[in-house]
């Protein structure tokens, strides 16, 4: 299969990208292309103009400041998975990155693209929500930040306005994170996954909790009840089990070729339990 015809434009700077993306209808941004190109091959989307933002300089760095991990939008998911900085400042994000697709896809897929595509089966959205991160966005009206709870409007829909692109991600640092994903086989896009991020006090008590689910009807559904349940507690098995159940209850899972909604809810419960336990062990370890 081959993509339909389109016009290809290269944006060398953020400003050029903003100008191009704000142009005619049917203009779409291409970063790594790992989600976009397959959809174009199936002709599920037919952009009239494809703006290659993948070569914009300055969007490919990984760094930290003010207790935040800062990741440029064009950092590939392979680099994200390998980065020592990411591994130490956000094990959740490193782990999530290494769960994305396969090593070849990760070599091109980008952080910004994985988020902006807003596929309910993409992995980074849940990691963003669990970490309570922000994306920085540049657009015709300047730059702004969007919190994780406001970024995803629905499947394949984000709060990005016409002409806007994600330039980076800012994440609170925290060792207490984990991502548990269920794939049926390597080529599977995934059935469900759970991202967990904790902040813990010296006594091993959870002071902040972030939990989000991949693979439901919503993109990166936040499990607010489970979070509330965990904050202030120390993660004993009974607490973890209750939080896992609450996570499953909050995710809207749908029956499809990958399994029934009933199965997927129980799967989310199992994955949540495992992710919470690992995140707590990591968080308590610092």
């Amino acid at each position: 299969m081959r993509p339909p015809d389109f016009e290809f434009r290269l944006a060398g700077t953020v400003e050029e990208a903003i100008a191009a993306l704000g142009g005619e209808d049917g203009t779409t941004a291409l970063a790594g292309g790992q989600s976009l190109i397959p959809m174009m091959r199936f002709r599920l989307i037919r952009p009239s103009v494809v703006v290659d933002i993948g070569r914009i300089e300055g969007l490919g760095s990984i760094g930290s400041s003010d207790g935040l991990l800062e990741v440029g939008a064009l950092v590939t998911t392979a680099r994200l998975a390998r980065s020592a900085t990411v591994r130490s400042l956000s094990p959740l994000w490193a782990e999530t990155a290494s769960a994305i697709a396969d090593p070849l896809v990760r070599n091109l897929g980008t952080v910004g693209g994985n988020l902006a595509h807003a596929d309910p089966l993409n992995d980074l959205p849940a990691a963003l929500v669990a970490a309570r991160g922000h994306v920085t966005v540049a657009g015709p009206d300047g730059t702004r930040t969007i919190g994780s709870d406001d970024l995803f409007a629905g499947p394949f829909e984000t709060a990005l306005r016409r002409g806007e692109l994600i330039t980076g991600v800012r994440l609170p640092r925290g060792s207490g994170g984990a991502y548990e994903k269920m794939k049926r086989a390597a080529a599977d896009y995934g059935v469900a996954a759970v991202a967990v991020q904790f902040a813990m006090d010296d006594g091993g008590r959870i002071t902040q909790a972030g939990i989000a689910v991949t693979g439901g009807a919503d993109v990166a559904a936040r499990a607010a009840e489970a979070e509330d349940l965990l904050v202030g507690s120390d993660p004993r098995p009974s607490t973890i089990a209750r939080a896992a159940s609450a996570t499953a209850a909050s995710a809207l899972m749908v029956t499809d070729d990958r399994g029934s909604a009933r199965y997927k809810r129980e799967l989310v419960k199992a994955l949540a339990g495992r992710a919470i336990e690992r995140a707590a062990n990591r968080g308590g370890g610092t």
Partner: protein, 155 residues
């Protein structure tokens, strides 16, 4: 659109349609048919090439994204009659049968071994999870990769 790619060390200036995929640029414009197309979903890896040092699926790269970049394909390794060490290991271990997926495995494994010359079996299997083979059951491929320390450079 006009673009320039360096394939196996040779610079090519090509004129192609903007919707051209890198794999079709290689196969149809440059007549390098060792890179194959096996699926529509970026799943099988038969089209794997090395782009600026990283193994990627060339069916999921637009030709324009490759403009100005360096590409290594399976044709770039054997020097006259001498196979690269990894290619020779594939032959020695019976790591191919129909051969259609083979160039993809060679490219993915070459890029991987350059970073990890002494991988465990589990690491090799994980590194190859983006490549599908229907013939071999993978065991001989894994053995060939594990027997090779330096996969070989472009000739």
């Amino acid at each position: 659109m006009r673009l320039t790619v360096a394939v196996n060390g040779v610079t090519h200036r090509v004129d192609c349609h903007p919707s051209t995929l890198l794999v079709h640029l290689l196969r149809e414009e440059l007549e390098l048919t060792g890179t194959h197309v096996g699926c529509d979903t970026s799943s099988c890896g038969a089209c794997t090439v090395i782009l600026d040092g990283a193994a990627v699926k060339s069916c999921t790269v637009l030709a324009g994204q490759a403009d100005g970049r360096e590409i290594e394909t399976v044709e770039g390794f054997a020097d006259n009659h001498r196979l690269s060490p990894l290619q020779q290991a594939f032959a020695d271990h019976f790591a191919l049968q129909c051969g259609f997926c083979t160039s993809g495995f060679l490219m993915a494994a070459t890029a991987f071994l350059r970073q990890n010359p002494e991988p465990s079996e589990a690491e090799v299997r994980k590194a190859l999870e983006g490549n599908l083979c229907r013939c071999t059951g993978y065991q001989h491929i894994v053995d060939a990769v594990r027997s090779t320390r330096t996969p070989g450079d472009r000739r």
